[in-house]
């Protein structure tokens, strides 16, 4: 179990970072998740559900984090939470990059939408698994995902206005 948990560290960190956009907080979140998972390992009855069990622990840790902050009353109602973090020259350099723009757009999503989006997109969880991890109905997963992608599209279109010229040489096959 310990080894399996350690192997999940990168994936947990990736999702944690997409949730909070803060390296130190992501690190704390992952550490806390791994620690809690180790303590409650006996509660995992179905090994096939390891991933969703682990991410549900992290979702709870993330929820606890908000509860410990007075200004964050209800995770589902939060519209904009941006963790305060130091800005290094490295960060400033990265700000100009497209990756950072996408991260900023994801970071501007309401927390509930952000969680659903990243669990689906980064971890390939099914809608049912995400519902289980976050403890919400599957219909809510779907509606949050829709709203998240609509918002993301709006934010990223600002960075990338449509081109009027016909593009013929690069295409995508569906």
């Amino acid at each position: 179990m310990r080894e399996q948990l350690e192997q999940s560290r990168l994936r947990l960190y990736r999702v944690a970072y997409s949730w909070c956009s803060d390296r130190a907080l992501s690190d704390d979140l992952v550490q806390e998740t791994l620690s809690k998972a180790l303590k409650s390992a006996s509660q995992l009855r179905d090994p096939d559900r390891f991933n969703s069990w682990l991410f549900s622990i992290m979702a709870n840790c993330w929820r606890d984090h908000f509860r410990n902050h007075q200004e964050m009353d209800d995770i589902d109602e939060l519209e904009d939470y941006r963790c305060v973090h130091e800005v290094t020259p490295e960060d400033e350099h990265a700000q100009t990059q497209i990756v950072q723009r996408v991260r900023a757009a994801v970071g501007n999503l309401p927390v509930g939408q952000r969680q659903v989006l990243t669990l689906v997109d980064l971890e390939d969880f099914s809608y049912a698994e995400v519902a289980s991890i976050l403890g919400i109905p599957a219909g809510t997963v779907m509606s949050r995902l829709c709203r998240a992608r609509q918002a993301l599209k709006g934010m990223l279109l600002e960075f990338a206005p449509r081109q009027t010229a016909q593009v013929t040489r690069i295409r995508r096959v569906k």
Binding site: R9, L10, L12, Y13, R14, V15, Y17, S18, R23, A24, S26, D27, V30, E90, H93, A94, T96, Q97, I98, V99, Q100, V102, R103, V106, L117, T118, V120, D121, L122, S126, Y127, M142, S143, L145, C146, R149, Q150, L152, K153, L156, F159, A160, P161, R162, Q163, T164, A165, Q166, V167, R169, I170, R171, R172, V173, K174
Partner: protein
């Protein structure tokens, strides 16, 4: 989910996230064949999904174990991923011409792509790079169909043609012995079309090996150090047409 709600946003998202059952997928495929708006919506959603994935790379820089030593440097690969993301969006939605401020390396590639897009001189209409980065069998099949269509058309018109199918990420499954659902078809295509090449991403292979996964490729599959570099810094600069499946 009922197919009567087929055009709802929920249905479109479920399609992109591979959450539909087989009947719903059949419906979606029929719709995609007939409905341009439907295809555009799918394209946009796929683009958004891939943008998010590229923004948080799988091999994110090692997570910090202690505070004060954390780093989320954007590697060259990530820069490439960003450029690739732009390329993909440009291809699907015509967004490529927007003005961005990015480091020199990004600018250079974006400039190249933009130049390629805006200047049709020197295009090789018979050279195509087909990129597949998903293990979805439908899309793997589409990649092969697409390549075969191009090569058959070229043969019928006695035009020399060259098609390179490049697989990375989960798409590498297309070229893995014992895993590819199309190994036999690929072998037949290799015999039939001398202008067809299959190329596997070396970085994907390396990552799989790091996870202890043995990667055995189909016969005559070539390996490129990086799929994205092969596409962006080589083929597109050489005026090959790009097809994302």
């Amino acid at each position: 989910m009922k197919t009567e709600r087929a055009i709802s946003d929920e249905f479109m998202n479920a399609l992109v996230d591979d959450q539909l059952d087989s009947d719903e997928k059949d419906y979606a495929l029929r719709e995609a064949n007939q409905n341009t708006e439907f295809r555009e919506r799918v394209c946009e959603l796929r683009a958004l999904k891939e943008m998010v994935q590229h923004a948080y790379p799988q091999v994110a820089d090692a997570p910090p174990r202690t505070r004060g030593r954390t780093s989320l440097r954007l590697s060259h690969l990530q820069s490439l991923a960003a450029c690739f993301m732009l390329l993909m969006i440009g291809g699907t939605s015509g967004w490529l011409a927007h003005d961005i401020s990015s480091p020199a390396s990004d600018n250079q590639m974006v400039h190249s792509l933009r130049a390629l897009q805006q200047n049709d001189f020197g295009i090789h209409p018979s050279k195509y790079v087909v990129h597949v980065d998903t293990a979805n069998p439908i899309r793997l099949k589409t990649a092969l169909d697409e390549a075969e269509n191009l090569l058959t058309t070229a043969q019928d018109t006695s035009q020399p043609s060259q098609v390179e199918i490049i697989a990375n990420g989960p798409g590498l499954d297309l070229l893995r012995t014992g895993i590819s659902p199309f190994a036999q078809r690929i072998a037949l295509m290799q015999k039939k079309y001398p202008g067809l090449d299959f190329m596997a991403c070396g970085q994907t292979i390396r990552k799989l090996k790091e996870q202890g996964i043995v990667v055995e490729l189909l016969p005559h599959t070539q390996v490129t150090p990086s799929a994205l570099e092969q596409i962006i810094t080589r083929r597109l600069k050489q005026n090959w047409a790009y097809i994302k499946v």
